[in-house]
Symmetry: C2
Subunit: 254 residues, 2 copies
């Protein structure tokens, strides 16, 4: 059973302010908790139903993670999921370390992606396509938001992210005298992604759900790209667009 | 202002049972209502804020649609959206007419897609890729669910659907002595979609979110296909997978 203070602490982590203050975030549901316990994240506390605990004791013992056994009702009161009959973990956030695309590597830049569901989906897609670095503008949704973690289906344990001034990163990349990297950005008037000879190295920039890539960032895009349309929908969701772009990049570079 | 009976009627359409009983469904939000008023759907009633009504009177007059002016609070009470400051339309459902893929046409088959958000996303993707026919198993989510209509972003006005026994449709297609169509289905052990020479005619079958294509349907798949994975995510969301498959089909056939 949870103490009043434990419950209050866990519930406070629904909010960004308290996640930042405590340096911890929530991971919820059977699969995500299992994945985080097997990752390099440090888990501070697991609250779990007896059934989940018994089946996963080898995982909590591996990191010597403290476990509180709770009822399903307590679990759902503490967390954000509508239904959760398994577990919730309180996990330490990672240091915000700068990331750069290495040679022969495509890194993703998220320029003002606001919707947590979209961000979580993008983590999962990045993980599918072997993209390991995601550079996020400061205005992009908080990756530690429980909705992002949940939508990523465990992929948050396998990709790395950094929050900061993405335009500055691209400016520096553009200024490199040698080894300048390609910067791909999705626009309506770009080159057809079905025929473009993508480079193995560089950045793929995805922009805001309504307004696309901001001008400050767009000025460093070296190659505008477009997903061809064969029907009448006005646009594609940013998660879908990210998947199609990465699929085309991998198709020609691997 | 809405009468008690009008409010009760509109609220009843949140549920499939009453949508079927009345033969009507809800379309919510500025853009979707504008699109439905310009489509071949018959609109029974529009409830709108004064601001929306004034800007769109040319659309409601076109079909001589009755309009009730309401407050934002009334609009949100009647509908399903958390916030709606524009309008809601009560629209007549269409007859469930059988659909078949014509020569040089790719039609989509949805075999037990349960999540309304996924179904709405798939309508939007079909619309982007010019797919005009969607055959749904009876167990697939109801396309008239307000969540589907909303997630489709207006694309529900440009694609056609049919609900019925999809295995029977494929069986008949397989039995054709001439002009037998390709039936593509997504599996883990199929041909790589990056190198497959897709046909211009046939069906693309997408299966259930957890269990994939059911055996009854799978037996009629003539070509198993697989989206290559370059990282570690276990799976892709069915909407994302549909988009990537259609992108690859269009790339080689158009």
């Amino acid at each position: 059973m949870l103490s009043k203070n434990q419950l209050k602490y866990i519930q406070s982590l629904h909010q960004k302010k308290f996640r930042q203050q405590h340096g911890t975030f929530l991971v919820e549901g059977a699969k995500s908790v299992q994945e985080v316990l097997q990752s390099d994240f440090q888990t501070e506390l697991v609250i779990a139903t007896e059934a989940f605990y018994k089946e996963n004791v080898h995982l909590t013992e591996r990191q010597r993670t403290p476990v509180e056994i709770v009822s399903i009702a307590e679990l759902e009161r503490a967390g954000t999921l509508e239904s959760n009959n398994a577990a919730l973990a309180v996990v330490k956030t990672k240091e915000n370390r700068p990331l750069l695309a290495a040679p022969n590597e495509i890194a993703l830049i998220l320029d003002d992606i606001r919707d947590p569901g979209n961000l979580g989906t993008i983590l999962r897609i990045a993980d599918w396509y072997g993209v390991r670095k995601i550079l996020c503008s400061e205005t992009t949704a908080d990756v530690y938001n429980p909705k992002v973690i949940s939508a990523s289906k465990g992929s948050f344990t396998r990709v790395n992210w950094w929050y900061g001034n993405v335009a500055d990163v691209l400016k520096q990349s553009n200024d490199e005298p040698v080894g300048k990297l390609a910067v791909y950005g999705a626009f309506l008037d770009g080159e057809d992604v079905h025929t473009l000879a993508f480079s193995k190295s560089g950045y793929l920039v995805m922009g805001n759900e309504s307004n696309g890539i901001r001008p400050d960032t767009a000025q460093y895009v070296t190659q505008r790209v477009t997903i061809p349309r064969y029907g009448d929908a006005e646009s594609l969701n940013v998660g879908i667009a990210t998947a199609i772009l990465l699929d085309n990049i991998r198709r020609v570079t691997q």
